[in-house]
Subunit: 423 residues, 2 copies
């Protein structure tokens, strides 16, 4: 058992922060929260307390959509829309991951950056290359970070240099499953790139594999108008872009993450709700690629599952603080555009999405309620706190102004994680 | 004479970066750029060279709209639209600047932060308090930073605790003018808060004062729909919000900055063009306060003068890097909304706005062309440059990912500025 003391904030529900000033969190030997206490309980007087003083203690960040092989392109080359952007900048970079040395060089930095930014869990796209994908999974394991790692499947409308066959992606995914069998924190996930990149045959086989091995699924949905129109012409029988996944068993038949959903409405939205498919909102990416603004407020009001993602490298920054901030800001621009008809997101709502909203995909993650994995960040915001701010104001200022410099300690599933090596 | 060597980038025109890899800049004893040279000229072989190695050397940042007394509220309290936001959060904070000790506490931090962020010139709103405004001007002078500093006038629709009379603002401005008479870098600027806060009498007297003393003017324009409608009802005779300034001599009769212009079009836009009024685009603020997106591409295509501003504390961050980034992103959202009818801003265009665009209000500032004041930043981006990026890519990554940590040296008008004291 461990006891930590600090200014504790979390969001068991989206509507408000729960704040415990200079409170205690009791963590079991299994790395789970036993309880939060405002004062030290009498029966625990003998357990040593790690006191973080006036620092903030918050649930760690969860990034539910990020492309590890695009790390080198982060903050570069955002002058095109999605489809030409993929062909011009992204596919040529992903090609380089056939080279395992290069993959190691970039993936080590990627995993290091997740650690640095306080992102303890992520759902990650690798590339079509099985060796590099196994390496990425190993790097997560070594770092002690939680992740879903996906070998990408793509066999149409893709360059020859970046295509695989249905057999290859099935075989590679089986290897990944085998490799991660006993892994407590790193798991495989079925990862068709997106409908335009995957033949019906590939989608169908991946849906079967998801069912057979009870694996979760991640992909992209309704990100950009040209993409949505393209899917309609590629799949004239599907009633929506989402249905083009659903008919192959890739849309909620097992737990499913769908990134973007900027243009999800009507039947597609109903299908997502019925199947409990997660919306992964990526506002930074949707701004950078001129995609648009997803109706997240509508999704939340309809009780849908919503998480946040950086979507690096269409997102330009791995910080989930920045993603929270963008989520609020684009919802305000949508509010302005609608002349105030829809509400915009609040700080506690986006904090919920970045912690418990996304964390729920990993189990009991993203909150300090009893039974939750102790994924936490200790934040030193003293340089920002020069005028008697409240603890909640301090968190707001940290989210908008702070960065990785301010994170002093990182816990994943109860374990304090040291800095992973860069080389 | 001084000679500096580094990877030099600037934007004499908005359409492209000029790049000089490992080039030289020759700076006169008066602190002005004499010329840029790819190699060291023979006649200067005897002048010692300060070599910044592989670092980047770029023009310093210029923030053309920022509220110094709102520094404490930065990154807080952005859950309301402009008008209730002013009454609820902003006016009560500005009231505190009647206390000169509090003003010193905050203004020192504000000036320190400008230095830290590499913003060498700014156009700043103080409050209605003359003593605190003089102090702010002195702090700029001590730091060696360039600024236009304005004593705010507001005498209607303002709380009793934050109102002044026409006589007080005229008298206070005259004191400021006298105080700054011999100052080479810090200057006074006529600063009516905005039309709803200023009676016709006050606006008229301030217009006269601007003409009499040939002082520039700064204020707010067409930021928010409710505000625009309010101005129409307050000034039924004015043909536009802009005309409500123009008829009093406050709209380009002397050099004029107008922040926001989210809803500027038609006659107001023509009036701005005819009078050479600057648009100060504040995209971070316009997102945070749900104001909307200014049509900056249109402004630039029409040959208007455009600068960028943080607008702290409606903007949540003093970094002009972040403002550049938001300027691109909101223009992309506008592009998406218009279904691609308007182009979005490029990186060289926003860099031009943050350097030469805003710098032009201060004279020859914001570029390394001959005769320009040497305002410059030396940037160490080595931690971002792990894979042979081009110099231009390095700058792009610095703008999106870098921060104040990376600035090694700051020059304003040729002088290397040491860190100003925080207390």
């Amino acid at each position: 058992m461990k006891i930590y003391r600090a200014n504790i904030l979390h969001t068991p529900t989206p509507d408000a922060f729960q704040v415990l000033e200079r409170g205690y969190v009791i963590v079991s030997d299994e790395g789970r929260v036993e309880r939060l206490c405002p004062t030290l309980p009498d029966d625990l007087r003998d357990v040593p307390v790690t006191d973080f003083g006036d620092r903030l203690l918050i649930p760690a960040m969860n990034d539910l959509h990020v492309h590890a092989p695009q790390y080198r392109n982060m903050s570069l080359a955002m002058d095109l829309e999605l489809l030409p952007w993929l062909n011009t900048y992204t596919f040529p970079e992903e090609r380089r991951f056939a080279d395992i040395t290069y993959a190691g060089h970039i993936y080590r930095r990627f995993v290091h950056e997740l650690w640095m930014q306080g992102t303890m869990r992520s759902a990650v796209f690798a590339t079509i290359h099985p060796e590099a994908t196994l390496l990425l999974a190993d790097l997560f394991t070594e770092a002690g970070l939680g992740a879903y790692v996906g070998l990408v499947g793509m066999d149409r409308n893709s360059p020859d240099y970046l295509s695989n066959t249905t057999e290859e992606v099935v075989e590679g995914t089986r290897r990944l499953v085998e490799h991660l069998r006993a892994n407590p924190l790193v798991h495989p996930i079925i990862t068709p790139r997106f409908v335009p990149s995957c033949s019906d045959t590939m989608l169908h086989r991946l849906g079967q594999l998801a069912e057979e091995l009870q694996l979760p699924v991640q992909s992209h949905l309704s990100e950009n108008m040209s993409e949505v129109e393209w899917v309609h012409s590629l799949c004239p029988d599907a009633s929506s872009y989402g249905d083009a996944y659903y008919r192959h068993g890739l849309f909620g038949q097992t737990p499913t993450l769908m990134a973007h959903c900027c243009y999800t409405e009507g039947e597609e939205l109903e299908l997502m709700k019925r199947n409990g498919v997660y919306v992964v909102h990526c506002p930074m990416s949707n701004s950078n690629l001129s995609s648009g603004i997803a109706p997240v407020r509508t999704f939340m009001e309809q009780g849908m599952r919503v998480a946040l993602g950086t979507d690096v490298s269409a997102g330009h920054n791995m910080s989930m603080l920045r993603v929270m901030q963008y989520a609020i800001q684009v919802s305000k621009l949508r509010y302005a555009e609608s002349k105030g008809r829809c509400r915009f997101l609040s700080l506690s709502e986006v904090f919920y999405l970045a912690t418990k909203g996304g964390g729920s995909f990993f189990g009991h993650v993203g909150s300090f309620e009893p039974g939750y994995d102790f994924d936490a960040l200790v934040v030193d915001d003293s340089y920002l706190n020069f005028d008697n701010y409240t603890v909640e104001q301090r968190l707001e200022r940290y989210i908008y102004l702070g960065d990785d410099r301010d994170i002093r300690v990182r816990f994943c599933a109860g374990r304090e994680l040291p800095e992973p090596p860069l080389e």
